[in-house]
Amino acid sequence: MEMHRDDIGAKLGMWLFIFTEILLFGGLFLVYAVMRHRYADEFHQAAHQLNAFIGTVNTVVLLLSSATVAMSITAVQKGEKRKGVLFILVTLICAGIFLFNKYFEWGHKFSIGLYPGSDMMIGLKHGYILFFSLYFFMTGLHVLHLIVGSIILTVIMIRIQTGSINKERYVLLENGGLYWHLVDLIWIFLFPLLYLIT
């Protein structure tokens, strides 16, 4: 039988999934709120240890990648296949830059012995421990989503190229885009709360 096609239904499903993701991070933001309330000063000081410059670069990169995903939808809607693929490619490059930065950011902290469960970390003040635990947990989960998003967008890029995503049916691209914007949304809150509360 002909597959029943319902683009609005598919998007509604994607939005519901996004709600679950928001609340998944919501649990962490709740922990953050409580711990920051308890250890306001130590959170303040611990945030100095984070590299706000890398954080800023990553913010810009993510915003740019979000814009290009949105633009690729416009391109596909207009039937401009080449542009559509190119925009996604830019997004993927941005994701690569983000990961590259994150690798060095985390790598630096690991090299000085600052990671969850390390002797150095356990020896810190309580507020510091919780701040860095939250930092690793939240950015770690975020990066995981970014990697998953990149894989999804790669598949979508190939599908635009082969033409199975086209002017007539592009709901998969829209949903992949929604997921990518979610990754951006989370970062919009993570960035000031972790890097800028100094």
């Binding site: 499903g13 679950t20 919501g26 709740l30 922990v31 308890r38 969850p116 469960g117 309580h126 919780l130």
Partner: protein
Amino acid sequence: MAEAITHSYLENTGKYKGILAWLTTTDHKRIGLMYMYAMMVFFIVGVLLGELMRLELFRPGQQFYNAQTYNGIFTIHGIIMIFTVVIPGLAAVFGNFSMPIMIGAHDVAFPRLNLFSWYLFILGAAIALSSQFLGNGPPDTGWTFYAPYSTQTHTNVVAAVFGAFVLGFSSILTGLNFIVTIHRLRAPGMTFFRMPLFPWSLYATAWIQVLATPIVGITLLMVIAERWLRIGFFDPSLGGDPILYQHLFWIYSHPAVYIMILPAMGVITEIIPTFAQRRVFGYKAIALSSLAIALVGYFVWAHHMYTSGMSITARWVFSLLTFLVAVPSAIKVFNWVTTMYKGSISVKPPFLFALGFIFLFMIGGLTGLSLGSLATDIHVHDTAYVVAHFHYIIFGGVGFAFFAALHYWYPKMYGRMYNFRRANMAFGFLFVGFNLLYFPQFVIGIMGMPRRYFDYLPQFTLGQQISAVGGLLLLIGIIIMLANLFSKKGAKAPDNPWGGSTLEWTVPSPPPVENFDEIPVITGEPYNYE
């Protein structure tokens, strides 16, 4: 396509035969049955574990096994019953089987995702059960995994917690599927307020599944991270707060109670009008009270934490909110009873189970009020009183509603009837056994019997022994019921054995693969008996 429609969903028409045809199906009715079979296995295991506890508690002191084994047994009893039986419960089985037919759809919105949910369910259950055999022995934390004990015990907590996490995602995907199905696939003319009330209750349930489950998902991940990486969120020695765990856990797990009970209420709302042959009283009130319960139920979680040491203000705020939930619940009970008034009632097995539900749910609900008020809760917190209360809600409520739904839709599922006399007998055993089992727990709970204790003082012996007898009767009831339903084929069932007025009774029993030859056009309300 025209040919396929004449086949019942139970016949294999695809390229696979036998069990493979079932394991690769995307038919919502088959998936519903697959949930049911899996759940029955888990349910029986859970019941037997419960009976093992009753045996041990038959007399004070150690009888058959030691205290650590007892801790393991009540933990896995809770994990199995909560996460693999009652949370997916009615929504996964009857929501899948009946809901798409009731709203006039060919299937759910995402049939393949639906099958994927079932596999996640099996995978999650397998991981959770593996905690019994792998690692350093069965977890002994209770199903609530309270920190800091859950982050420190040497037993195999991680497997159980991760299993619950996977089961949670199965539940989220089912909820997501149902919301989209109800929004997008209702038959033409079926406005929201012409939709039957069981789909209404599933709609409210699905929202809780989507919005509450992720919170426990992330919380369980935090417990794993706490154990493996010492992140310190819940560890006071690193600055964390164990009470925060309780907040996060109950932000999900209280709404989870409504994930269990709302579809149960929905089923009862289908059964009462059918067997009273009367239009349901207060249709809109019942529909909207489902949403009200879902919404308010989200904001009452901390009534599990009155004795945890949280602030006094928080205690009375949550106590107040808790009493608010009683209002929509009571609205439903009044409407069921009023629907029966002056109806031409035929007392068939599904109706008996529904009456049993109302009676037991009322006892569970009213004792819930005494737990919701601060002063009495301090006295009975963590006693057998709480055990009795939630078994009245979860088993007396959800369990009996499940049996009611099973007897109600069984003819539709299999195209066969069952023996009414034996079904009534099973109901008798279940009802008497249930009350004998759990009512004494209220009494010894008030007297001071703590919950989760392996041993007790001699003055509780009589109560515990009455409970043990009740447990035995309950087990006999379950055996009679299942034997009656599944041991031999009954007479062929007509399309509409009960005279119901919702759409599932307009299709053949068992329904064809795509449910409808042609999607019906709805012109009026669902419960049209006058």
